[in-house]
């Protein structure tokens, strides 16, 4: 159970996450979407207490009833893997290259759960089966370079599950994988969350994967959660101008119709996410927003219902 209230990560140059508030209950599946540099990963790291040294975390973050803002490294070490676990984007680089993958998965169980080698090996075997690794006995003895990217991501998922965490944060878990493998990894994560009543935070810019993996979604831009809601509603009827931009910028039959069925250019959101120091003080999206008002650049937009936008009352 994670409860964040006005959680802020200040990197010195600017706020990478600005006053994020949300609750992740057991079994919840929440997506975080947005372009690169919008604070998605930083938010994930904040939930692990792994914000870089330069970052300062403020606000409130309760994990299983413990206030973790201001908690020391040792307190975090007790929570990681056991309460909150995280898997990262690059399965190729995320595994220790000189350890057999079985040893890697056994290590947290031996360190945190006090299991002996045999017990840890048996559990690792079970986990490999659970995450759908074929021929798990043989895999245990292999090194990361001997198995495929999809298998490595499954090993990382098994590793993250080793100490039975309440919440699993998956940061772009499918981005480095080809579409077919990505789909199966997504399905695996959904199945695991359901079977274990485990919270799942699915960070991605792949809207299709988020649609499949999650029930609720938070759209981030410039460190703000600009829109949130049930995944199917947000994706079907986006209200925030940024969410609309994101949705229109992906290939779909709708886009094709808009160009009369001819091969046309996909619409894009003009410009790119500015560096932290150059973010607008008011609405972060000011400057790139197609429906900008005079007030947008100067004043912070109010949070109204499920989104943060000056035009919320007009339905944007």
């Amino acid at each position: 159970m994670i409860e964040a209230a006005a959680l802020t990560v200040d990197m010195g140059a600017g706020q990478a996450v600005r006053e994020a508030s949300f609750v992740i209950a057991p079994g919840d599946r929440i997506g975080i979407v947005g372009e690169s540099g919008c604070g998605k990963t930083m938010l994930g790291l904040a939930l692990m207490g792994m914000v870089p040294d330069a970052g300062h975390v403020s606000g409130s973050l309760m994990i299983d009833g413990i206030q973790m803002v201001g908690a020391g490294e040792v307190t975090w070490q007790r929570l990681r893997a056991r309460r909150v676990a995280m898997i990262f984007q690059e399965p190729m680089a995320a595994l220790n290259p000189i350890k057999r993958v079985g040893e890697t998965v056994m290590e947290p169980m031996m360190v945190h759960l006090g299991l002996g080698r045999d017990a840890a090996r048996a559990r690792a075997l079970e986990l490999f089966r659970e995450v759908g690794i074929p021929d798990p006995e043989a895999r245990l003895r292999q090194f990361p370079h001997e198995i495929s990217g999809g298998q490595r991501q499954r090993v990382l998922i098994a590793l993250a599950l080793a100490c039975d965490p309440g919440v699993l944060i998956a940061d772009e878990p499918t981005t480095a994988l080809d579409a077919n493998v990505a789909l199966r990894v997504t399905q695996l994560l959904v199945g695991l969350a359901a079977r274990r009543t485990m919270g799942l935070v699915f960070i991605s810019h792949d809207l299709a994967a988020v649609a499949r993996a999650t029930e609720r979604v938070m759209v981030m831009y410039g460190g703000d959660i600009v829109e949130r809601g049930a995944t199917d509603e947000v994706l079907a009827q986006p209200r925030h101008p940024y969410t609309r931009g994101l949705l229109s910028a992906r290939p779909s039959s709708g886009n094709m119709r808009a160009t009369g069925g001819r091969r046309g250019r996909l619409p894009t959101i003009p410009g790119s996410v500015p560096p932290l120091a150059e973010l607008a003080p008011g609405c972060r999206f000011a400057g790139r927003c197609p429906v900008e008002l005079k007030v947008c650049n100067g004043a912070r937009p109010p949070r109204q219902g499920n989104m943060i936008c000056h035009r919320a009352e007009e339905g944007a």
């Binding site: 990262f88 680089a93 000189i98 090194f143």
Partner: protein, 314 residues
């Protein structure tokens, strides 16, 4: 793996063969007449000629080389011209001292350097890091013989804790060990200064990698991440430098044994060169070369033990 060993053994033999040619050629091209240096300037021309004949110096170079190699393969390096005993005996007497010195120097170097280097990396950018970097800069700048003299002045002359030099022989183990402490420290301090820097930068490089973040995300303590995940992955450059340093340590014993009056191979090679004792010098240079080549061979084997990825490639 078998192929690798086979290839390495071939290159081991070829390297030693090349060394033997160079050593033999250099020793025979160098000016200076061994007969003259043995008998002295007052020797008569007849006596010199007789000795040259006895030493085989009148034979063609090639047949002398082949005869030398044939003997060397059987462990016979001829008779030392200055000591008048078989070279192999001279070496056998002195080898244990030099080998003990080189190995203890290496062990102290590795322990000191890895501890300091990892500590510096763990405290990157803080006082501990700067302290280690400063000390290692100092250690690199100081020549070993000068450091030896300082150590003798402080610990032997001033504090009288340790003997200033000499070696009592292995029959008195405690005294023997005591007399090796200062030379070992003198050898190790300079080498560990270099190795600590290598360890630090290699560890820092590994600490940035994704799998270290994974280890941190698994809630492991900083110490565990450092020693179980960072260090093993940082070992390849460390082992490479250790291999080179072992060679430097073995040759470094030449200086250190002379400063501390230790009867080892380093002192022997120094004396034999001064005496133009050709058979002894040739044998010792070959031996030093063999030690260096063997060290490199062991380093290559360690690579395979450290990084499983290299096994599939080789």
């Amino acid at each position: 793996m078998g192929y690798f060993l086979f290839r390495r053994t071939i290159s081991f033999v070829l390297t030693l063969l090349a060394v033997s040619v160079v050593v033999f050629a250099v020793m025979n091209i160098l000016p200076g007449d061994p007969a003259l240096s043995i008998l002295g300037l007052d020797a008569t021309e007849d006596a010199l000629a007789a000795l040259r004949e006895e030493l085989g110096l009148n034979e063609p170079v090639l047949s002398r080389y082949l005869a030398w190699i044939a003997g060397a393969v059987q462990g016979d390096f001829g008779i030392s011209q200055s000591f008048r005993v078989p070279v192999s005996e001279l070496i056998a007497e002195r080898l244990p001292l030099t080998v003990s010195l080189a190995i203890s120097g290496m062990v102290v170097t590795v322990i000191l350097a890895v501890a300091l280097g990892v500590a510096a990396a763990a405290n990157h950018g803080r006082a501990g890091d700067w302290g280690v970097m400063f000390l290692s800069q100092l250690g690199i700048a100081v020549p070993a013989f000068w450091l030896s003299i300082l150590l003798v002045l402080l610990f032997a002359v001033k504090l009288r804790w340790l003997p200033p030099g000499g070696f009592p022989g292995w029959s008195e183990p405690a005294a023997a060990v005591r007399s090796l402490i200062l030379p070992t420290v003198a050898l190790a301090l300079v080498q560990s200064a270099v190795l600590a820097r290598v360890t630090r930068s290699s560890a820092l490089e590994v600490m940035r990698l994704d799998y270290i973040r994974t280890a941190r995300a698994m809630g492991f303590s900083r110490r565990r991440v450092l020693w179980r995940h960072v260090l093993p992955n940082a070992l390849i450059p460390i082992v490479t430098i250790v291999g080179l340093q072992f060679a430097a340590l073995v040759t470094g014993t030449i200086v250190i044994e002379n400063v501390f009056y230790l009867p080892g191979l380093g002192r022997l090679i120094f004396q034999s060169i001064a005496n133009r004792d050709l058979p002894t010098v040739q044998a010792l240079v070959m031996l030093f070369a063999a030690i260096v080549v063997t060290a490199n061979f062991i380093v290559d084997l360690l690579y395979l033990a450290i990084d499983p990825r290299l096994k599939t490639r080789s």
